[in-house]
């Protein structure tokens, strides 16, 4: 070290310190505005804490037991999962079909892709407004059409299942095209050789789709399900604005479509009970993390199993598969990627 000139020493410091300086803003800001609030939520959940009066007595896990005994909390969880299932499953099916159609050798690719993605640019608030009118109980377009065909109108806002269906439709409308494009990317990365050799062997398009395309895009499908889960469990704008005039917009007169985040909001800002609201936030956080972990382990198994199999069978497509994993980043491959 003693032989270094001051200039060289400075340069060495530059090399050593610079990387940390470059990543520091992210970590510092994230710790302050992302991590700290989440941890502090737990602190708030241990106190009686009023919106206006502020911090009160320490109550331990009292807020958690109160929430867990609250039937409205369970109601909100039921609604959240019901809406989530009504959106995730049809959405995935529709997205796979749309992706397959886009993957065909069609004319005007960009036009059709944009057509599919169009609903994504309509904000959730605008989507809620449009669909709450489409699904109006008295004068909505859907009920008008049903009556034109001699069917009974549906109480889209008053009935539990009907309201879940309407809200799931909003989510589906906005996200199906988006997910179709993710699946399309996965489909296009399927090695062409596989399709060619299968075609030579006489496999038709449908057969090739079922036996080649679907297995190849399975990791991406699971990835789509995971992101849909994380988003789906935090639905707020749609139920909030589905019927804002009734009961202050807390999710219907009987809370028939009150989701958990909507309940969190009601608890915090209507009932002004920050302590219990924080407990709800923390419980929902745990649920999301647990489901995320289950998904993650599932994905890893399937993703690694799949690529191992295809590598053994078709060594010459290996490079293509690696590209797939890099372009369509599935959580299962993220960890592998970092270890590189």
């Amino acid at each position: 070290m003693s032989t270094l000139t001051p200039r060289q020493r400075l340069s060495r410091l530059d090399v050593k310190a610079s990387p940390y300086l470059y990543i520091a803003p992210f970590f510092i800001l994230f710790a302050l505005v992302g991590l700290f609030p989440l941890l502090y939520t737990f602190v708030v959940s241990l106190y009686d804490w009023h919106l206006l009066k502020g911090q009160g007595d320490f109550v331990g896990l009292g807020n958690f037991t109160a929430v867990l005994q609250d039937r409205f909390f369970w109601n909100s969880l039921f609604n959240t999962f019901s809406i989530f299932l009504l959106s995730a499953i049809p959405q995935l099916l529709a997205a796979v079909i749309i992706a397959a159609v886009l993957d065909a050798n069609i004319r005007g690719k960009t036009f059709w892709r944009m057509a599919v993605l169009l609903p994504y640019v309509v904000t959730p608030v605008a989507v809620s407004i449009i669909f709450s009118n489409l699904f109006g109980d008295d004068y909505g377009l859907v009920n008008n059409l049903l009556q034109n065909f001699g069917l009974d109108p549906v109480a889209w806002h008053r009935e539990t299942f009907a309201s879940h269906f309407a809200i799931a439709t909003m989510v589906n409308w906005r996200w199906t095209g988006y997910n179709a494009l993710i699946l399309l990317a996965a489909m296009q990365a399927v090695p062409r050789e596989l399709h060619e050799s299968a075609a030579i062997d006489g496999a038709g398009a449908v057969r090739r789709f079922v036996s080649i395309t679907i297995p190849s895009i399975r990791p991406t499908m699971i990835f789509v399900i995971i992101t849909a889960t994380i988003g789906g469990l935090q639905i707020f704008a749609e139920p909030r604005l589905f019927d804002p005039a009734t009961a202050g917009g807390v999710g219907g007169s009987h809370r028939q479509f009150q989701t958990t985040v909507l309940y969190l909001w009601e608890m915090a800002f209507f009932r002004q009970n920050f302590g219990e609201a924080a407990a709800i936030a923390w419980l929902l956080f745990i649920i999301i993390i647990v489901i995320g972990l289950i998904n993650f382990m599932l994905t890893r198994r399937i993703a690694t199993g799949d690529s191992a199999k295809s590598r053994r069978a078709l060594p010459w497509v290996r490079r293509r598969h690696e590209q797939v994993e890099q372009t369509v980043t599935t959580p299962g491959t993220i960890a592998e990627d970092v270890k590189l």
Partner: protein, 313 residues
Amino acid sequence: MSIRTAPERTTDAAAATPPAGAGPRDTGAPQAPRRRRGGGVGINRRPGWFVYAILLVVLLGSAYPFWWSFVIGSRNNQALGSAWPPLIPGGNFWSNAAKVFDAIPFWQALANSLIVSSVITVSVVSFATLAGYAFAKLRFKGRNGLMVAVIATMAIPTQLGIIPLFILMRQWGWTGELGAVIVPTLVTAFGVFFMRQYLVDVIPDELIEAARVDGANMIRTFFHVGLPAARPAMAILGLFTFMTAWTDYLWPMLVLPNNPTLQVALGQLQSGYYVDFSIVLTGAILSTLPLLILFLIAGKQLISGIMQGAVKG
């Protein structure tokens, strides 16, 4: 997708080997031999009419709710009641738009949304590019561990931290200030991850070494090698960040009730006591226009961003 017949299979087998340039005669496919679907015949044919039929149904499903809102928004409340929905716009759009401007501070909200989304975008993209570059191309102790930390934080629903954030913002007297919406989203873990994934492949290590040998210090190397290479990914990340910030509703609604962003103002329009639906729908259309314009300009980048795995930034 079409059903294949036996005679074609023979052409298939024959066409599987010929060199590039021998475009299939019977398909009407363009002569694009090197393109992905340009090599063989069977998996390459122009699809049948029903593929376009499905696409047409999807197009109608995508566009119709939007068109319907515009038609109702250009008429009046009675149009909602008609048994068959009207298909042609009426003449009331501008008068309804004027009523929207009366009911909510539309221009103020538009300006707020633009400011908030722009500042967040610049901040997220800058910090993500810097950190992503370091993770992708610089060697330092603890790099892998810290990158795993970034990935782990991607799964954390930070939206659930609203209660302490609200307490903080009120203590600082920030409720009603745009800063209250900007500060919590100055960085995203996804942004760092996205930039890292992009830069790791796109910059050759030799280029960085060459710049260093030429005497450039670290930050100079970043500006002259890293930044130019990162530009396409920065554009995509920026697009997604902007859209995410623009569509955000829950948090702005809590801290900006009297100085709203566009989404908050629109929510207030929907929550009013005397609701005229044609006016509310006009508001929905008006508030969507900025993103629609963005979509028409940058739709291609948006599509390629999604297809590269840019996920719900």
